[in-house]
Assembly symmetry: C2
Homo-oligomer: 262 residues x 2
């Protein structure tokens, strides 16, 4: 039986990134896509607690080289994964892929990213899960330099799986052809900070409103073991990412800080 891959993203089912990803991995497996109807950037692991969800079949291709089914869901990236697992997948997928995201999901962006929401959700369901992101927000970004890496990582994880509770956050810097990536680095998440995040505007009716913007600062630019460093130096950054967020190393200090009873 051919492997089954579930794909979602946070840019919507029509985005170039997800359609590039489908083409890269369809030789490897049957594909089910369930992605948001439009852009859901910054949705993190959000799910729809109070809104009803709908599901729409967009296309289906079946052939001797395998099948691709594409669905859209009205909800968040995490909703899409839950919906696909519940309603669309004939069996548990062998792999869940998120992306390819239009934009950088390194450092603290991990926590805001809907693409990472997809793979955190997959990981919480004990399914090997990998997020791919290109540090280029443009709708017509060129994903072609990523293809050999995406295929190799996908093949490896399909074959070997991932440790329980661990997913991969894979980020690609922008390179100009005929330049190539310098290689792959297994990284830790950099500490970094978003600042100047709100831009105040005045509505024609006389009240204030704000847009979320912001600029990012790498708080440890000298450290050469981070995702930020790898991306700045032309490497593909792979950050093994865990769903168990317990700060084990802080447990003793916290125990001492908080006496047992008030």
């Amino acid at each position: 039986m051919r492997p089954l891959i579930l794909i979602s993203n946070d840019d919507g089912y029509e985005a170039k990134g997800i359609n590039s990803l489908i083409e890269m991995v369809r030789p490897l497996a049957d594909i089910i896509v369930c992605a948001p109807e439009g852009a859901r950037s910054g949705m993190a692991c959000a799910f729809s607690a109070t809104e009803p969800l709908t599901l729409t079949k967009r296309r289906e291709e079946r052939g001797e080289t395998g099948s691709v089914e594409v669905w859209s869901c009205s909800g968040t990236p995490v909703d899409c994964v839950k919906m696909a697992l519940h309603e669309l997948c004939p069996r548990k997928p062998d792999l869940i892929l998120g992306g390819i995201n239009h934009g950088d999901n390194g450092s603290v962006n991990t926590h805001y990213s809907g693409t990472m929401g997809v793979v955190m959700e997959g990981c919480m369901k004990y399914i090997p899960s990998v997020a791919f992101s290109l540090c280029d927000h443009r709708a017509d970004a060129d994903f072609s330099p990523l293809a050999p890496y995406v295929r190799q990582i996908t093949e490896c994880v399909l074959c070997e799986g991932l440790p329980k509770g661990v997913c991969l956050n894979v980020n690609f810097p922008v390179i100009d052809k005929p330049q190539t990536y310098k290689g792959v680095r297994i990284c830790r998440m950099a500490f970094g900070t978003w600042g100047n995040e709100l831009r105040k505007c005045s509505h024609p009716r006389g009240y204030d409103y704000w847009w979320m913007v912001g600029s990012y600062t790498n708080d440890e630019p000298e450290a050469d073991d981070t995702d930020n460093w790898a991306l700045q130096h032309g490497y593909v950054a792979i950050t093994p990412t865990r769903i168990d967020v317990t700060a084990y190393e802080a447990m003793d200090a916290i125990s001492q800080l908080l006496t047992p009873n008030p």
Copy 2:
């Protein structure tokens, strides 16, 4: 100068939980509240990438015993924190509190919780941050048994701070008076799974739609060091939680799995 505490939640500024929290900690500090206009459960670390945000002052009390300012914001819990830090706080707060949430934020709920979004955001800004949640979804839940614990934890963290990159996820089980909590346990996050998450319904106009529901299973019920265990056994569960989600323990295995270049 009195300390400054910023408070937000995901149940909205009118919820009983946040108003109980304000009363519990106002003797300790000046308080600024910036909370969503209504329920934003399951919003995780989502922020508003494409929607404009508005801000409304709801009340202000100034007296010899300190001040309380309450604002609502149209966005997500994370938006509320970003907005408050940018527009409302006269200086960097000494502490950010999330909650008190109406409902359990233990185990994998950590990843979906807007209350945890509040404190993850605070932690990403290097501000000591603590989330409080009561395992009771009811709008009129009784928060009074929590008061001595909330005050003691708040005082400790105000005084001592928290390690960089670590926030606290504090969950309280439901107890019936005159029962009291058995004490406090410093826990790890349990592995658990949500299942049966989608309930299909038929719209009067003839199409299908789905509500997100689900039932939770603790996947390691025997382990006595988890938040789920502590809550089931009548303890206050404190899980030190990190924003660095790198799976350090998996880096060697991932390095071996993924050969450097395709």
